[in-house]
Amino acid sequence: METRKRQGFAKFFLCLGLLCSLVRNLSALSITVNDVECVYEYVLYEGDTVSGNFVVVDHDIFWSSDHPGIDFTVTSPAGNTIHTLKGTSGDKFEFKAPRSGMHKFCFHNPYSTPETVSFYIHVGHIPNEHDLAKDEHLDPINVKIAELREALESVTAEQKYLKARDARHRYTNESTRKRVIFYTLGEYILLAIASGLQVVYIRRLFSKTVGYNRV
């Protein structure tokens, strides 16, 4: 009876430990890219799905309506490129890691102005039949829970992407608002100054007349 209780406890702790090892989460961080900035992420199991997104959050929106974009590259631990995206101002990505190890996620900014990139990387592992067979204490319900967790993770990732896109839209909106106010006020003042200068110039032309038709 007591040994059975001990075994039950051990089973519970094992399940808890294994389940805890499946929880992976990361907040959406932003990093300023001057030329190349790389972030590394460790993939524990081969075949894990690595998903994520990144959005370039502009600081200064100048005169071209389209953002030139940055390049995004994912390199495997062996050194070959798994995933590339070129000239995009924000996108989602998802791939199956071909092997476990340290993967490199690089952002390359081809232009001289520094850009801030908000990114989110998530490595998800769902125990498959092989893991189930290896450990008889792992319940099939844990597989279902892991799948549910991964589905919720994808919703959270989508929300982080939307939040980053919303932040970028907000910058554009604020910039438009400021431009409308300051450029119109500047235009009015310049118009008044130009017409004032015109009047002054014409008066000067006529001020030194000796005869009627001197000008």
Binding site: A10, S27, I31, T32, L44
Partner: protein, 213 residues
């Protein structure tokens, strides 16, 4: 005999899983000179938890030390440590905005090699201490996992409401800018006409005074 084997195997597995990272983190490569900063926009009353560890590249030299600094959106210094190989900080945000965490290699470290730092940054629901919840409410196993998922669903709902309010704020600004563009353009035409009328009036008066007209 069989029970001893199973408990032994279980203990071995537990020992092995305790070395697995409980939460994954990102690794940054710090150049020998210069600072690397990561930031995140956080709203008010959110728990932020972070751990950073320097991973030595080779075992022959001693572990290089780094310095870390965390600043709030208004410039307050929340965490500042120099000459450390690991550290952690936790705070509840009192201001909404961009929180910046910067790392740089200490100047006196020899060798111009890059230093890799493992940073684990968690905010909101992922910073929640589930072990204390499990102990307080005495839940375990599958129920604890489902409770965690319930927390995640609640966080998703809150995020959605937050996105909705942000979208409505932005829509207000957009509509205001739209009406301003219309009014300011018409006003610019009015200003143009007013200025030219003034010019004509002033010059007519001036020429009449000068008896040229």
């Amino acid at each position: 005999m069989g029970e001893r084997v199973t408990t032994g195997a279980v203990l071995l597995l537990l020992w092995w899983t305790s070395f697995l990272p409980m939460d994954q983190a990102i690794w940054l490569n710090l150049p020998p000179t210069g600072t690397k900063c990561v930031s995140e926009e956080v709203h008010i009353n959110v728990v932020v938890l972070a751990d950073y560890v320097v991973i030595p590249d080779d075992h022959s030299h001693q572990t290089p030390t780094i310095s870390a600094k965390v600043t709030s959106p208004y410039g307050n210094n929340l965490h500042h440590k120099e000459n450390v190989t690991y550290g952690q900080f936790a705070f509840t945000t009192t201001e909404a905005g961009n929180y910046l965490a910067c790392f740089w290699v200490d100047g006196h470290n020899s060798g111009g090699k890059d230093v890799s730092v493992n940073l684990e940054w968690r905010t909101g629901i992922s910073a929640k201490d589930w072990e204390s919840v499990a102990r307080k409410e005495k839940i375990q196993g599958v129920e604890l996992e489902l409770r965690k998922l319930e927390g995640v669903v609640q966080a998703i709902h809150e995020n959605l409401l937050f996105l909705k309010t942000r979208e409505s704020e932005m829509r207000t600004v957009s509509e205001k800018t739209n009406s301003r563009v219309a009014w300011f353009s018409i006003m610019s035409l009015g200003v143009c006409i007013a200025v030219s009328v003034f010019q004509l009036w002033h010059l007519t008066r001036y020429f009449q005074k000068k008896k040229l007209i």
